[in-house]
């Protein structure tokens, strides 16, 4: 098996290498990818068309918004899939010959506890800043959502899962995640109901007190918040399922 995979890997590697000399030089401004009208359009027209200075956010949430909606769905899918695969009620555990019956964590160490008490609000505020400021600086719904989810993971690590579940109860996780995706899709369907194509935010100026360009700007903020909801909930859900082996009872 090892030699076979080595042969396959070497063949693939040589195949890939054989095309490298055909590539444009690294960082060449004249390369087709940089020179083609697609990239030029994104760079020069994003701000006039959408009012968003961060081109990545604009392309992500507007020009290729359909892709990003499915990117959110990928996260959602992974969350549901992991719940479907791993989740089980703790009572079924007794059959597993009672191994690893760990007791709950003792009261956490004073230094760790205090540090986290101080850190977690800052992390969460930073996450909100990343979500809200994604139009002007690097960041956006996804990054902010991961950071927000990480703050709950930190609570779980320092205290235990019960402490974190006070903020995000297990019953609510799927609701939160679903609401995030629905919020994203809702912007799309609203555009459809108003008579334009799916995700064509400009038409929303009819129901928003805004011009078409502003409608695009604000709708993008809306969908980013939707992404953040989903990612926050699912990241925490994946971690708590993996760390508690699907029982949602005790963690590591």
């Amino acid at each position: 098996m090892k030699t076979l995979s080595l042969i396959a890997v070497v063949i693939t590697g040589l195949l890939l290498l054989s095309a490298v000399h055909d590539f444009p030089d690294w960082a060449d401004p004249e390369s087709p990818a940089s020179d083609y009208r697609l990239s030029q359009h994104y760079i020069t027209q994003t701000f006039p068309e959408t009012g968003v200075p961060n081109m990545v956010t604009a392309v992500l949430a507007d020009y290729r918004g359909y892709d990003t909606m499915f990117e959110t769905v990928v996260v959602f899918t992974a969350g549901i899939a992991i719940i479907g695969l791993l989740r089980r009620s703790p009572s079924s555990r007794n059959k597993d010959k009672g191994k690893a019956t760990r007791t709950y964590k003792k009261k956490p160490d004073l230094i760790v506890d205090t540090t986290c008490r101080l850190l977690i609000p800052i992390i969460q505020i930073f996450a909100l800043y990343v979500i809200a400021h994604g139009h002007h600086s690097p960041g956006g719904g996804f990054q902010g959502g991961v950071i927000f989810g990480a703050s709950f993971i930190l609570i779980t690590l320092t205290r235990d899962l019960q402490a974190a579940q006070k903020w995000v109860p297990e019953k609510r996780i799927l609701n939160l995640a679903g609401i995030g995706v629905l919020l994203y899709a809702g912007f799309g369907f609203a555009c459809m109901l108003l008579g334009d194509n799916f995700l064509d935010y400009a038409i929303l100026h009819k129901i928003m007190p805004a011009t078409p360009t502003e409608a695009r700007y604000h709708s993008m903020l809306g969908v980013e918040i939707g992404v953040a909801f989903t990612v926050t909930a699912i990241m925490f859900s994946i971690y708590s399922n993996l760390a508690s082996n699907g029982e949602m009872k005790e963690t590591l």
Binding site: A27, T44, P48, V56, E71
Partner: protein
């Protein structure tokens, strides 16, 4: 110096291939299920590295407009007091005489694509780890050969 240039012009592409092959080999030949997943992540990040390398442009900066381009100096003083509507007129009015040089900024498209690819990568990794835990729960091992053996002996 010419040889040197020829190497430095493409070495990014070479090293991405090396990293990718390391990952691919681990995915195919490792026996441990977690190791396979680490290999998978390395494989995927190597592809992301390739895409990001496509977007690099000599002498260009990050794809976010400068503050001065978005808010020209002459009206930055009373910008805050603008009403919503006037603000938009201001944006469109000044967008027409906005000069954005395409050479000034990196190509944003590969970045957008790779954000999606990173998300897909972490979703796949999470799902793979969940399957690993389920296998451990059912077979008591995370070594592929041991699992196959216990399937064989169960027959």
């Amino acid at each position: 110096m010419e040889v040197f240039d020829a190497i430095s012009a493409k070495f990014n592409y070479w090293i991405y291939i090396i990293i990718m092959m390391i990952g691919l080999y681990a995915m195919m030949s490792k026996n441990n299920l977690v190791k396979k997943l680490i290999g998978m992540s390395i494989f995927q990040t190597a592809i992301i590295l390739f895409y990001v390398s496509i977007g690099v442009k000599e002498g260009a900066t990050i794809p976010i407009l400068y503050h001065e381009q978005v808010h020209p100096a002459h009206d930055s003083g009373h910008h805050g007091s603008d009403t919503e509507h006037a603000a938009d007129e201001h944006v469109t009015a000044h967008a027409t005489d906005l000069h954005i040089e395409p050479d000034q900024f990196t190509n944003p498209l590969p970045h957008v694509l790779m954000l999606t690819a990173i998300v897909v990568g972490v979703a796949t990794l999470g799902l793979g780890l969940a399957l690993t835990q389920k296998l451990y729960r059912e077979f008591g091992s995370i070594e592929e050969s041991e699992i196959l053996e216990s399937i064989k002996s169960a027959k």
